[in-house]
């Protein structure tokens, strides 16, 4: 769980970096996307790096989901619905830790939509295009506010997921020590905030007409 989570976090950082290229204009954005496809050539065939990355990501996602589902099932076995408390009270746990499971499901659904939308371009509100930049701009036009809204909601869910996920991953990897806890919390909160904001900026910028 922690290891695959870490891979996905690293990926998100790179992904956000790419996204933010949108503010440097169409050329830079499309160029970046193209570069990803030819990265590693001629050592790797064209799209080789991309598929390698996609494979690793897919494997990570699947393992991550598998681990999550088994944890979920274990938790249900450890305290079945028939044994739930009549009164529950949050003592210490963060809101983000609550959202891990259903938030995770939301994120999975969103990821599928997101790939269909901006990668494969099967779903193409505002018109399909070969230019990733145009796909983006088309997809988040003000009239498709509901796409933006869904996107925003999903990114916030990712933020919450990361807030607890980063903390928990660090703890599982053995980093947690009493005197490191403030730092760990800062890393978890900081990183998830940066990623959330970083991912929110491009579509909002499009929707509000800052990028066209």
């Amino acid at each position: 769980m922690a290891v695959t989570g870490a891979i996905l976090v690293l990926y998100l950082i790179a992904h956000m970096y790419g996204n933010l290229k949108v503010f440097s204009g169409q050329e830079a954005f499309d160029g970046y996307a193209h570069n990803l496809r030819v990265l590693g050539t001629p050592l790797l065939p064209e799209h080789g790096f991309l598929w390698l990355a996609r494979l690793i990501l897919l494997a990570s996602v699947l393992i991550h989901i598998y681990a999550a589902v088994s944890l979920w099932l274990r938790a249900r076995r450890a305290r079945p619905a028939s044994q739930r408390y009549q009164v529950t009270k949050r003592v210490h746990r963060t809101y983000s830790s609550y959202t891990m499971r259903w938030g995770g499901v939301l994120i999975a659904l969103f990821t599928i939509f997101h790939i269909l939308h901006l990668t494969v371009n099967v779903i193409s509100p505002g018109g399909a295009s070969d230019s990733p930049y145009e796909r983006l701009v088309n997809g988040f036009q003000p009239e498709f506010w509901f796409v933006t809204l869904f996107y925003v909601a999903a990114v916030i869910a990712v933020g919450f997921h990361l807030r607890h996920g980063i903390w928990s991953g660090l703890a599982t990897l053995g980093v947690n020590q009493a005197n490191r806890q403030p730092k760990m919390n800062a890393v978890a909160t900081g990183l998830s905030l940066i990623l959330t904001v970083g991912f929110l900026l491009p579509p909002l910028a499009v929707t509000f007409g800052l990028v066209s």
Partner: protein, 248 residues
């Protein structure tokens, strides 16, 4: 003060349970929570209703026998054991819900009493130092740096009450196991068995049907002895180390 109690009543392990409401008058704020239950039981007995069964023994917060979930919190609103919780933590007129620890690994035996034998079996799996009587070297043969000794001690204060499991949304026993792994792992005496201990204990807690740890932290937040959450990271470190050595 007057209070209303909602108490889980269950005749036996295989019976259906339910919440039953009782009213109690003249509760003194200086009573401990368990003394309040004593008063309830005296009253019930005189009314020929079976008293509420609950585990308790030392009543000074150290044996770990007592423990119920009070208004959704393991051991109630103070960070201490149920026996050290006093009625002054409640208000006149309160309705207080009292439930047993809930976990498949801790089946309810009767009313508020659960079976925590799983904890003993986790210790059996490796929560010890193999030091047969009479084989010990002089106590001063092995100086231990004070910070290590203190950290071992902090972890060793666990009383095995099970509040960590009761409070964990996953019903995981990780804090309990981690406390023992940390206690013995910090001491030179615990080194020879350190790698196998953690693997065996973790395997046993999985076999007992405890849930998995997702680092939520409710366990440490309700622990009456303040076992630090970072013991779980210590366990994970030791576990990674053991896997690296091919144990497990």
């Amino acid at each position: 003060m007057n209070i209303t109690l909602r108490v889980w009543r269950q005749k036996g392990r295989d019976d259906e349970g339910r919440m039953v409401t009782y009213k109690l008058t003249d509760v003194s704020p200086d009573m401990s929570f368990l003394e309040m239950l004593d008063v309830l039981n005296e009253k019930l007995t005189l009314e020929s209703e079976e008293p509420v069964a609950f585990d308790h023994d030392c009543r000074e917060g150290i044996c770990g026998a007592c423990g119920v979930v009070i208004d959704g919190e393991a051991h109630g609103p103070e960070r201490t054991t149920t026996c050290q919780l006093h009625m002054r933590s409640f208000n006149d007129g309160d309705t207080i819900t009292v439930e047993p620890w809930r976990a498949s690994a801790f089946p309810v035996v009767k009313d508020l009493v659960v079976d925590r034998g799983a904890f003993d079996r986790i210790i059996q799996a490796g929560g010890y130092v193999s030091a047969p009587t009479g084989t010990a070297p002089d106590a001063h043969a092995n100086p231990i740096p004070k910070p290590d000794a203190d950290r071992a001690f902090d972890a060793a204060t666990c009383i095995g009450c099970g509040a960590c499991v009761a409070a964990c949304p996953n019903a995981s026993s990780m804090l309990f196991t981690a406390a023992k792994v940390t206690h013995l792992g910090m001491l030179p005496q615990g080194q020879p068995e350190r790698a196998s201990r953690v693997v065996q204990m973790v395997n046993q807690q999985d076999a007992e049907d405890f849930g998995g740890c997702t680092n939520i932290g409710e366990c440490a937040a309700v622990c009456p002895k303040g076992i630090p959450l970072d013991t779980i990271s210590q366990l994970n470190q030791d576990l990674l180390g053991s896997l690296g050595k091919g144990i497990g």
